[in-house]
């Protein structure tokens, strides 16, 4: 009963999740944790600790070998392939390498996420411009990605992930390629999005950023959960 209640309250819940690549490389082992609605959680650990794998499981880019994953009260391991797009509309994703389309402008890149999920063009204009203002790119609407700095490209990527207003946002090392000042700018945007009610799980190994934010920290090491601490600290 307690388990059911927790599942209903949690936005994300993992129960004994294990992932083994090619039957021999252990990426995650027996991970269990729950993240409540509106939380901002850092997922930390050294390279190869399983952070990206965990995010891929939550986004159904990969499937767990054992255990179950619940997103917004729904188990996603048994989700049919045709229903995965619906899951991805409630779980936005930000990547270290931005994954912007080079032949589209800033506006077009963000609008693309709305268009491909069936939004009419009128809604596209309504939603995209205020969001680009939020991330501080209202003066670069018609620039192409190669005309932007790394920080600006990441802000476009955040706007694209958030344009559908997903209740969950996964960020895979979003500041990995950025200098400390730019990273702080990205953190401020993510904080703002979190204040608007979106649950954020951010993978990083930037200890400075984690310790400055004083948020919940989940630490992985060699695929095992070794620390889960509210207002946690991380020392790489």
């Amino acid at each position: 009963m307690a388990c059911l209640v927790r599942r209903l309250v949690s936005m994300i819940e993992l129960d004994g999740v294990t992932k083994i690549y090619k039957g021999e490389v252990l990426a995650l082992y027996n991970i269990s944790c729950a993240i409540a609605k509106g939380d901002f959680v850092f997922l930390v650990g050294p390279s190869g600790s399983g952070k990206s794998t965990l995010l891929k499981l939550l986004h159904r880019q990969e499937k767990a070998d054992h255990g179950s994953i619940w997103i917004a009260g729904r188990e996603i391991g048994s989700l049919p392939k045709a229903r995965v797009p619906r899951l991805r509309r409630i779980v936005g994703c930000i990547f270290q390498d931005y994954k912007l389309l080079p032949n589209k402008t800033v506006v077009e890149n963000v609008a693309f996420a709305l268009e491909v999920t069936g939004s009419p063009r009128s809604a596209v204009a309504e939603k995209v411009h205020p969001l680009l203002e939020l991330v501080g790119l209202s003066r670069k609407l018609h620039s192409y990605p190669n005309e932007l700095s790394g920080g600006e490209q990441q802000r476009v990527s955040i706007a694209r992930a958030f344009v559908n207003r997903p209740p969950i946002l996964l960020a895979d090392e979003p500041t990995g390629n950025l200098d400390p000042d730019t990273s702080l700018g990205i953190m401020r945007i993510l904080d703002e999005i979190n204040r608007r009610g979106t649950t954020i799980l951010m993978a990083t190994h930037d200890s400075g950023l984690v310790n400055h934010a004083r948020r919940r920290v989940i630490r992985l090491d060699k695929g095992r959960l070794v620390q889960d601490q509210a207002q946690g600290q991380y020392h790489a």
């Binding site: 880019q61 045709a82 797009p85 994703c93 994954k99 080079p102 491909v116 999920t117 992930a161 559908n164």
Partner: protein
């Protein structure tokens, strides 16, 4: 929600980015469907001609050039009394000469060497029976009459004609099927290239939650459009071919080949079918290509 505008824009972009390959594919579909349509026109023409020949066949009783009036009257009476003869026309020497001059107008030296007196008068006979053995029996009954030089039956010519046209039709059909298969593979490969060229877009579409059909449809429409365009281009070619055939057989003075020419309605029916096959080819090839190369 479903935005057709987005699907159309993506399809247009796919076609534009891939324009040279798309054009090559459309040409391949066009050629293959023209050949296929041509084979259908020939088959249809042979069927039509066979029906007409069997229904309206005539044999010719050639008299000797020096046949007497009595001999002509006797043959005439024999034709009138025969219940298996539906009707007949008499061609005297002058009418035969006029026909000869028309038929050999491109050989003036031959025309010059012949006078109306050299040509035999003849009876053009349409029997009531339709099967070839019965017609042969009626025709032969006039063979032994006095003054008759020979009875000419076009049955052998029809058989040769049927056999030749059947062979041509089969050859064109086989050739068109081979080219159709090549065109199918070309459409599939064009779409594969488009999928490869747009792999980044496809990856982003998947990551932001585009449904499988949203990703697939622009590629499928691209295939259908290529097939449809090839089919539509084949339509005027089929009408042109039928017209060329009509012009060619006009010179056939026996009018034997004229039955091979189809009317506009029949060619239109074949043209519609060919266009439909083009669109279906595009859909099939793109369904295969997206199923095989698009991991959604």
């Amino acid at each position: 929600m479903f935005s057709f505008g987005f699907i159309f824009r993506e399809t247009r972009n796919n076609l534009r980015w891939n324009i040279t390959l798309v054009l090559a594919t459309v040409v391949a579909v066009w050629v293959s469907l023209t050949l296929f349509g041509a084979s259908l026109i020939i088959r249809e023409g042979v069927q039509q001609a066979t029906q007409r020949w069997q229904g309206g066949i005539e044999f010719i009783v050639f008299m000797n050039p020096d046949a007497t009036e009595d001999q002509l009257v006797a043959v005439e009476a024999g034709l009138s009394e025969n219940p298996e003869v539906e009707s007949w026309d008499f061609f005297d020497k002058n009418q035969s000469y006029n026909e000869f001059v028309t038929a050999f107008s491109n050989q003036p030296e031959l025309v010059d060497s012949v006078t109306p007196e050299d040509l035999p008068p003849s009876f053009r006979v349409r029997p009531t029976v339709t099967n070839s053995e019965a017609i042969e029996a009626v025709a032969n009954s006039f063979n032994a009459r006095p003054g008759v030089r020979l009875v000419s039956l076009p049955l052998d010519a029809i058989r040769v004609l049927q056999e030749n046209t059947r062979q041509i039709s089969v050859f064109v059909l086989v050739l068109s099927v081979v080219v159709l298969i090549a065109a199918l593979m070309l459409i599939a490969n064009t779409i594969r290239t488009a999928i490869f060229a747009r792999r980044q877009d496809i990856e982003v579409m998947k990551l932001v939650g585009a449904s499988n059909w949203y990703i697939r449809l622009p590629f499928m429409m691209e295939g259908v459009i290529q097939g449809l365009l090839g089919g539509l281009l084949a339509v005027p070619m089929l009408f042109l071919m039928n017209d060329l055939l009509a012009g060619f057989v006009e010179e056939d003075f026996l009018a034997l080949l004229r039955s091979l020419v189809l009317d506009g309605g029949a060619v239109g029916g074949i043209a519609m079918m060919v266009t439909g096959i083009g669109a279906a080819m595009g859909a099939m090839a793109s369904l295969f290509a997206t199923g095989r190369f698009l991991d959604v």
